[in-house]
Amino acid sequence: MNEPPKEPVKYVETTIHLPYHYVAGDVRARYLHALKEKKILGARCSKAGKIFVPPLVASPESFAPCEEFIEIAACGVVTTYCVVNIPVIGRNIEIPYVAASVALDGADISIFAMIQECKPEDVRMGMRVEAVWKPDGERQGDHEDIQYFRPTGEPDAPRESFLHRL
């Protein structure tokens, strides 16, 4: 035969195997270490005074460095959210769960957080929530030291206070 077989091999299969070696960086490491002490740290912009949680090396808004770390309250307001009904590969999270944007009191940007201890349909934009920490001795200085946020039972924040704050 003066040609290769008519029927091609369909695929070349491979598993890519790449080792990576990460560091958190001092700014993020400081934030994560503080979680162990049940403290949430923010960083203050040296120019405009805005507070970023988790801390950033610089304010993306003013382009000025952040220089000062300050402790932020572990409670705030759900500014918006979604209810997730599909499992995420590689994540051990029970569905459905609420993924929310939470504006912590005193912070100028929101964090992503899970809302639990209430039914997904009871979550509201404007709902006041607080952090639920892992028990003492189990916190390891990572994001999961805050297990989730739960409703505080306080009255909701007024609509105009969060509607344009995501």
Binding site: I16, Y20, Y22, V23, G25, D26, V57, A58, P60, E61
Partner: protein
């Protein structure tokens, strides 16, 4: 040559290259470089019309890793922006093209991405085609050794010559405070280092590392106000070749030769007139191949910074060459200055075996009047 806009490098900042920065993530290394480069030019962020960056997701294994850079480059209010998945020197070339199109007058060009987070032999294997070449396990050191073997066979270049070329780089790097390797090494020392992948010895390889780079470009009229001695871009060109290693003559670099010819022709100078030639050669054989493409021989004009053999943060190495050329022409090269440098060549490359090559020709004088 049609008349083009005169564009100059007017600012440059580079984080000293280190093996591994354990205190900062890539964007945190970049932030102070952008601040310094702008401070160098005496301008605020709002004075810059355009930003363009170069990096590659696989270097540190973070898909969309470049998005984080927007938070440290002053991207508020929103800015005209582009990101190339390439060595950032190619981003500088694109900024120049954009200035030729009349779409901007000033630009910052950033390069970043921590080499230390990944393992380059593994990562760069993935640049090869996934059907025939990558499955063999070829990495950058192996492909470079294939090229070196072909070059040495054609030209009769000896191991000793490679050692001498490497030693010249290492000697120069001693005077560069941003270099990763600043320990002097002689040809004798390097010739005694063990084989990495023969014919390349460990002492001939470029050590990767962490850095971040920012270059500022400006057109005539603005450049003079931002820099006392701007480095004018007189010519520039880049060319890629087909990848398949076995279908190229690896003993030479056809793409480098063509790009160099075009860039020099645009600049209206010959390579011999260059006082400084900064080459992104990651081993001495590559340096010799590139010099051959330029039509010049080895000399102390080549890599006064010590070149990649004294620090190779890949995806930034090319932009650092451009920055080094600027330092020399602007009189800011400090201890590694080449006296009275007036013309410089800066080179960048991507891919295996010098697959893609970019040459800038810079001068202390404007090209078009």
């Amino acid at each position: 040559m049609a008349k083009l806009r005169n564009v100059a490098i007017v600012g440059f900042a580079q984080a000293p290259i280190v093996v591994r920065d354990e205190h900062r993530v890539a964007s945190e290394i970049l932030y102070p470089q952008v601040r310094r480069a702008l401070a160098d030019c005496g301008v605020e962020r709002d004075a810059i019309d355009y930003q363009v960056a170069g990096s590659a997701d696989y270097v540190d294994g973070r898909p969309f890793g470049f998005v984080a850079a927007l938070d440290v480059t002053g991207t508020w209010p929103p800015r005209q922006d582009l990101h190339l998945e390439m060595d950032a020197a190619f981003a500088a070339h694109y900024a120049w093209i954009r200035m030729q199109a009349g779409d901007c007058d000033t630009a910052i060009v950033c390069g970043y991405g921590k080499n230390s987070e990944g393992e380059p032999e593994h990562v760069l294997n993935l640049e090869l085609d996934p059907y025939y070449q990558a499955p063999l396990g070829l990495g950058p050191t192996s492909t470079a050794a294939l090229q070196a073997s072909a070059f040495m066979a054609r030209t009769g270049t000896t191991d000793r010559t490679l050692a001498e070329v490497a030693a010249r780089n290492r000697t120069a790097g001693v005077r560069n405070p941003d270099a990763l390797v600043r320990a002097r090494a002689t040809a004798d020392d390097l010739e005694r280092t063990p084989w990495a992948v023969a014919p390349l010895r460990k002492g001939y390889l470029a050590p990767t590392g962490d850095s971040a780079v920012c270059v500022v470009l400006a057109t005539e009229g603005k450049a003079e106000k931002m820099c006392e001695r701007p480095a004018w871009i007189r010519g520039v060109d880049q060319r890629i070749e087909r990848q398949t290693l076995g279908s190229r003559d690896l003993s030479a670099s056809a793409g480098a030769r063509l790009a160099a010819e075009k860039a020099l022709a645009m600049a209206g100078v010959g390579a011999r007139e260059a006082d400084v030639v900064e080459l992104a050669a990651t081993n001495p054989a590559e340096e010799l191949i590139l010099l051959e493409a330029l039509g010049i021989g080895p000399s102390d004009a080549v890599n006064p910074s010590g070149g990649p053999l004294c620090g190779h943060p890949f995806m930034m190495t090319g932009l650092i060459r451009l920055g080094e050329a600027f330092r020399q022409l602007a009189g800011r090269a400090g201890d590694h200055a080449v006296p009275r440098a007036r013309t410089a060549i800066a080179h960048a490359t991507l891919g295996h075996c010098l697959q893609q090559n970019l040459f800038f020709v810079l001068g202390t004088e404007r090209r078009w009047t």
